[in-house]
């Protein structure tokens, strides 16, 4: 293995570690935040970055064209599907009033929802 290969291995290992740390951070956030909506912040965002870092790390260690394609596919679908899932969780959490015991400082959505119900939307 040449120097470039070793460098790529090293950077890959560091990125794997960073990605795992990022995911750990997300889990800690889930434990610390009090309500569903805040937890969904912690559950989705650091995870996406963490997974991206892990996959780049894996890509740097594999270094095969077709494997890179597969990894890119994983990233693509992750980016496409995780917002849908988190949006649906957030939406149902909001509509069932799981906004936390402290309430919201400002809520632009509530009056619109009430309007919509009155107009029979």
């Amino acid at each position: 293995m040449n120097a470039w290969g070793e460098a790529a291995d090293l950077v890959g290992a560091v990125l794997l570690l960073l990605g795992c740390l990022q995911c750990l951070l997300g889990v800690i956030g889930m434990l610390r935040f009090p309500d569903v909506l805040s937890r969904s912040h912690a559950a989705t965002k650091p995870q996406t970055l963490g997974m991206l870092l892990v996959l780049v790390g894996v890509a740097l260690r594999l270094r095969h064209g077709i494997d890179l394609g597969t990894l890119a596919l994983i990233v693509f679908f992750q980016f496409l599907t995780s917002p849908v899932a988190s949006h649906l969780v957030a939406r149902s959490a909001y509509r069932t009033g799981q906004t936390g015991s402290r309430g919201l400082l400002r809520d632009d959505l509530d009056p619109q929802l009430s309007d919509g119900e009155r107009q029979g939307e």
Binding site: L25, K45, G69, V84, D107, L109
Partner: protein
């Protein structure tokens, strides 16, 4: 498969089988084939042929409604969007870490952000892009008024709400310049709505 005719798009053909309308959309078939090959992990003629067969059968078995998505792929815009997304993810990860470890309580808020784009694709793509960066969680999207409702952590700081809105508008512009039609781009070059967006 009698009256084969060309669809509006130059790359798709539609025809009727029995009572149902079927569309063979070449970009969709090509994309499904690429996914198939990537999933198998080897590029061979057998995989290519099988991929095309599977893609065509999928399109025939599960027809999608014929919609004009208005999707344009602009390589430069896509690069800029990707670079901005990456930058935003890294810079905001620090912020989220701070919020996670901050002592004490915070106030969250739900903020309405009216968008300037109107097309469904742009609305969806902007919402997806916003959800993927830390700082905003999309709770609700109102299609009729093209409004996105965000859940913002740390709303005690009034600057936080404004910066969340600004980042959505920035994202909207980048998305339109990456995937939008000329009309969408014209929409996002207009100034952002001023003042309090809530009705």
């Amino acid at each position: 498969m009698s009256n084969l005719y060309r669809d509006r798009s130059p790359y798709s053909w539609s025809f009727r089988i029995g009572g149902g309308r079927r569309v063979l959309d070449l970009p969709l078939i090509a994309w499904l084939t690429v996914i198939w090959i990537l999933l198998w992990g080897t590029l061979s003629w057998a995989n290519l042929v099988n991929g095309v067969v599977v893609a065509v059968s999928l399109c025939l078995a599960f027809p999608l409604p014929a919609v004009d998505l208005g999707l344009r792929l602009r390589p430069l815009g896509i690069l800029r969007l990707a670079a901005y997304l990456l930058y935003d993810m890294f810079s905001s990860s620090v912020e989220v870490t701070r919020q996670i470890f901050a002592r004490g309580l915070y106030h969250a808020a739900v903020v309405a952000v009216p968008l300037r784009v109107r097309s469904d694709l742009m609305l969806t793509a902007t919402a997806v892009a916003v959800s993927n960066v830390p700082g905003g969680s999309v709770i609700e999207v109102r299609r009729s008024t093209a409004t996105v409702f965000l859940h913002v952590l740390d709303a005690d700081d009034p600057g936080e709400i404004e910066s969340a809105q600004r980042s959505v508008w920035r994202m909207e512009e980048l998305v339109a310049r990456a995937f939008g039609t000329a009309e969408d781009i014209a929409h996002v070059t207009r100034p952002v709505p001023e003042g309090n967006p809530s009705p």
